[in-house]
Homo-oligomer: 285 residues x 4
């Protein structure tokens, strides 16, 4: 398949949106290869993801946005335009736990994330320097304390900007980002929380799951917002536990969930399949 | 929400299909509330399910099909047009096992299948006459032997036609329908098979699952074709088993799967969400 | 298989417990057909479920408890002794939602609960009188208001005692039982909560799940304690949802979970497979 | 917890086995910390896994087997005795696909397999030499053709014996081992098959799953026997697919299953939790 363009759209629901969008694409010679649409009837909001082949499309890539603008304005759309040859630059933040880091390193290397390239890894510890560099990825050590937090975050943001990072993945990063940091990467920071949100927000979820005697544990990937573990949920998954599982067993079982649930979220983000609205996500498949 | 129309379409993939269809609907004042589209790139086949509100639509319901025909012909479409106030008449066939029958009787009564009404139940045994009639549903007893098979099937088809039955659900019906019968209700007979197809085609799947020592068992709902358990799969689900599960335990666990997997298939069929092609199904959600 | 006896035991962990118990059984000619044991190393607590055939057992049934007492005292055991021909009498409490009631009525009738018999159904509404009585089960109507609560509960308990009810199943019963009531049936009242506890304790869990944008919803069966939705969890299960699912869709998907998760809990309770300790459950399989 | 011993036992079912075994352990001062027992009533076979602390046990480790022999003979037991400080030496065989190899390398390094150590990796290709050696694991290249098969296998077995390998893991190894090879490592070769056995035995299971239009795909880990994909199943798991999933999508989704399903099998084998009988497995938990 050749190069494609993708529009991600949300706007107040009204008549004729689909026809107008598809008319714009087809009228200019584009072949729609994927269209998915959704209406939230409660919020009266319209969502669409539409992808078309650019071969034979009459409008040059650099002009498509401008050409689409009148339609976007007419329907008061929030919209994004992406091209299939875009490559988002990704930074991973990690602390001591390495299972998610390892999974992501492997997947980038294996070609599982065609829409992304791993630019760098940042850690507040030195433990994984060797691992990261063995994959040929630059590793940056930013130790952090309460006192140095703002200063360190400013250095991190400076680095992220210099490296033109588009997406930050918190792969079990045990520091809470400041509002200042989060605001600069709204809907572009993905975290993995080791519980089935909204159960067990915050610290030590497996210990609390054990104490409560649940029969299923879970993991949740979500975009980071100012409120801890309250951001838009991207993906969740679960696994059965029983009275035989100690906290340590739960932690081990949970790891297998965490790395897969995080990897799916990263994949969908890089494929431009996620729309955020109202602190929730629409995941186009 | 008011009355809606739904088009189910499959055709060779080419440029401009989506735009033409949505243009037809919007150009006549229809408000698209659901559009889902899929392309099988291997088979170069295009699929679409599109639903729109009829309020304000300029073409009267009875003329929509004719008005759409030129587009259908242009793209060589297989297509169906449905209205949201259609009610499909359903017949359940059952033998001795009653868990699927009971589930369906409950769901029809509970209003879970708004697009269908239960017209009648046919059985080769008398066991469930009382149950069926307690739900106010006519029960027909058609005992069947090898010798009488064709004759009985003719009577059944006569009844089904007289009662204008659109969909036949085999709720653990232990007779194999003849090709003659199947051909009259192509893609309109849903069966539940008590295994994870294509594993354990045919008789006694739980016994064979037990013998093989599988760790997961399943159930499969599918449209009936001439070849036993080879029809297009609609839905499947599974449940874990262990060495502790005897054949009887598997049968019990399987029952809970069977009734849910069958009910989902019936629901989707009645909601016109299933497209059959190439002995497979596209399930629009 | 002939009649069996089952011991359910919990006690402080120490050396020699298993040997002493199995020695008691085998030394008296009992054939152990199932033994399952568990140690909570954190709490240093020992748990066991052991079942043996009574044919050839030298101690008469009525004497087994007394004969076992010295061992129980030696190890400071909490213990229960059950026989396979025991039949627990069950009462179902229900309000307006009928899916769990239906499921349980069907299962009792289908012989899925060999260790129990359905004694009666109590409801604060009259809606399901006909359904219950069509199964030949006595239906009692106890309307309830804030003012009459204690008085009504007293009448209910009187009825339950007269009918020698052992287990109460709240099949979507929308009244909160008083502490007074709960205390008389400790670990003998099973509730189904329509969320994945501890997420969404209390009212309208599906609405809150929808608002939060979760990707998986669940159901939880648990023993009722004084604290709302805080009792020992018996079983949980989950199902995927997406942005396409409205609250109503979640409610429908949830129903299928609720009825199965509740039925499993009732089954295990009736099979004497549940041990409660520390506000958690050990489920022997 | 200190050092423990574990007995794995299967024998014809008869009275008094549990009591005799637990009496042997407790009578010699052993503290039983885990006992799990199962009876296959169809085959009249008894199974047990029992683990006890060796601290204070009167019989020295090296004498336990001899001391237990009379009991084993009396009940005609197949039995194994393991100690918790045993370390099984593991060899991984791999071809081109590296996702299972990666997962296992990571888990050995992360300490997920305390009962095993990775001795070496054998491949018929050179692709993963660098990866394996970066983990400090010896890599052996054994290219193989139809003509050289027996000769190469002999060299492999020679290496395995020299390196005292106990367990062979086929991590998507695309060569079929000869009966001669398999016979030397009965119940000690674990394979991952990329389908839900017994569906899609043999080559290209994802392609065939796609063709058949299944709604769920799976992976199966099993011990290798002479018959292809017919050995005792250890673990299986599944994931949902839809019409939207191409063969390539299925392959990607399947990879995540394969590596986890294989890792679980290796873990349980190394923890001596698997008993094989009658071409099936008992998995003690």
């Amino acid at each position: 398949m050749g190069k494609t363009a993708t529009l991600l759209i949300s706007c107040p629901d009204t008549k004729g949106i689909v026809a107008e969008i598809t008319g714009f694409i087809a009228g200019n010679g584009g072949n729609i290869i994927h269209a998915d649409q959704h209406i939230d009837f409660q919020k009266k909001t319209f969502f669409m993801r539409i992808e078309w082949e650019l071969q034979g499309f009459k409008i040059p890539d650099s002009e498509i946005g401008r050409a689409f603008s009148p339609i976007a304005e007419k329907f008061k759309m929030d919209w994004e335009l992406h091209f299939s040859d875009e490559v988002k630059r990704v930074a991973i933040f990690v602390s001591k736990h390495d299972h998610c880091l390892y999974e992501l390193l492997y997947r980038f290397k294996a070609g599982d994330f065609p829409g992304g390239e791993l630019a760098l890894v940042i850690s507040n510890h030195l433990d994984h320097k060797g691992l990261v560099e063995s994959f040929g990825i630059p590793f940056y050590h930013f130790p952090i304390t309460k006192e140095t937090k703002r200063e360190v975050e400013e250095k991190e943001v400076e680095l992220l900007q210099r490296e033109e990072v588009d997406l930050i993945v918190l792969a079990r990063y045990m520091q809470i980002l400041s509002d200042w940091f989060v605001n600069q990467y709204r809907n572009r920071i993905i975290n993995i929380h080791h519980s089935f949100l909204p159960a067990f927000v915050g610290a030590k979820p497996y210990h609390r799951a054990y104490e409560r005697g649940v029969k299923i544990i879970g993991a949740t990937s979500h975009y980071v917002t100012e409120e801890l573990d309250q951001g838009p949920i991207i993906e969740q998954d679960v696994v059965r536990v029983s009275h035989r599982d100690s906290v340590e067993d739960m932690i081990k079982k949970g790891r297998d969930l965490e790395k897969l649930v995080l990897a799916r979220a990263v994949k969908w983000h890089l494929e431009n399949k996620i729309l955020v609205y109202d602190n929730k996500t629409v995941i186009f498949d």
